[in-house]
């Protein structure tokens, strides 16, 4: 692990220890956030899968009915019959905060009653097909909201995991390593100092002994 380039002195050592503590605390917080996000995420997956399957099955059925209607009345007539209707505000969106991820809340409004075509000339199966679609639409809206939430959560989980890993495997080890090396250098300097002092003391004592010897 790369050792940070810092001056080996006590001031830097203190600073490094403080940085290590902050990093460890941040790592713990992010790890908790990650676990919680994952829990939320996994809880949503199974539901969303089930809903998607139901929507796909219902859509297939409705498309089947539409195909029958088209066969009975002719393609152009059906196309004309379906021209009625304007884009309407069907949903209301708001945002909800799940672990600092902004997840859309989508409320389905009233689906307008299909109509505007002649009941006399159009086959009854067209009514049935449109009814099936109208029943499916709220489910589709629900599905869209859930899948969006899952996507957003997935993106946030990925980001959080990267951060956790960067702290755990890069930043914290390198700080720890640096602390160790600074500590060792300081210890070495301390030992050097001590030996020097002992040596000086020894030399002084020798000198004194010699002086006493020559005086006596």
């Amino acid at each position: 692990m790369a050792v940070l380039r810092v001056n080996p002195n006590r001031m830097e050592l203190l600073k490094l220890k403080r940085r290590r503590d902050v990093a460890v605390r941040g790592h713990k917080l992010l790890k908790d956030k990650f676990d919680e996000l994952l829990k939320e995420f996994l809880a949503r997956i199974a539901d969303s899968r089930r809903l998607r399957r139901e929507v796909e099955a219902r859509l297939a059925r409705a498309y089947g009915l539409l195909a029958v209607a088209r066969a009975e009345a002719g393609r152009t007539d059906i196309t004309q019959a379906l021209l009625a209707g304007e884009p309407a505000p069907l949903i209301s969106t708001s945002e909800r905060n799940v672990m600092s991820v902004k997840v859309p809340e989508i409320e389905a409004g009233e689906v307008p009653q299909p109509g505007g075509y002649s009941l006399g000339t159009m086959p009854a199966v067209l009514d049935e097909a449109l009814e099936a679609l109208a029943e499916t639409l709220p489910l589709m809206i629900e599905l869209a909201a859930r899948e969006k939430a899952i996507e957003l959560l997935a993106a946030e989980i990925e980001r959080t995991r990267r951060r956790v890993n960067a702290l755990e495997h890069v930043l914290i080890p390198s700080i720890v390593e640096t602390i160790k090396s600074v500590q060792m250098k300081l210890d070495e300097a301390e030992r050097g100092n001590l030996t020097r002092l002992m040596k000086v003391k020894e030399m002084l004592e020798q000198q004194r002994a010699e002086e006493q010897g020559s005086a006596g």
Binding site: A62, Y63, L83, A84, G85, I91, P104, G115, E147, K148
Partner: protein, 109 residues
């Protein structure tokens, strides 16, 4: 606000939704798909449904909206398409989050 729903797909798939108040964009080639997407991306739509061929064509553009709350782009099977693309999109999201999608599949089965 984003309170409308758009549906981009082939005319057979989208036609039935028009009477239900959905803004439909019938498309048949990639130029039309892009034009429809440009119009939808301008705003006002909370949800955009796309059929599978449209998703295949516009995957990059759709991926660009993935990190925003709206619009929620959802893949649905159109008339006469096989399905499964929506499922695959979900599996990708799982893989992105967990690192593997195999785990979840076993859990659910």
């Amino acid at each position: 606000m984003a309170d409308k729903i758009a549906f981009i797909g082939d005319s057979t798939s989208v036609a039935g939704f028009r009477p239900l108040g959905v803004a439909v964009f019938p498309v048949s080639d990639s130029a039309q798909m892009r034009a429809a997407w440009d119009e939808v991306a301008r705003g006002g739509f909370g949800i955009v449904f796309v059929t599978e061929p449209v998703y295949a064509e516009l995957a990059d553009e759709i991926a660009a909206t993935a990190d925003r709350p709206v619009p929620a782009v959802t893949v649905v099977p159109g008339a006469g398409s096989v399905g499964g693309v929506g499922e695959a999109k979900l599996a990708r999201a799982i893989e992105r989050a967990v690192g593997t999608s195999a785990l979840i599949r076993e859990e659910e089965a």
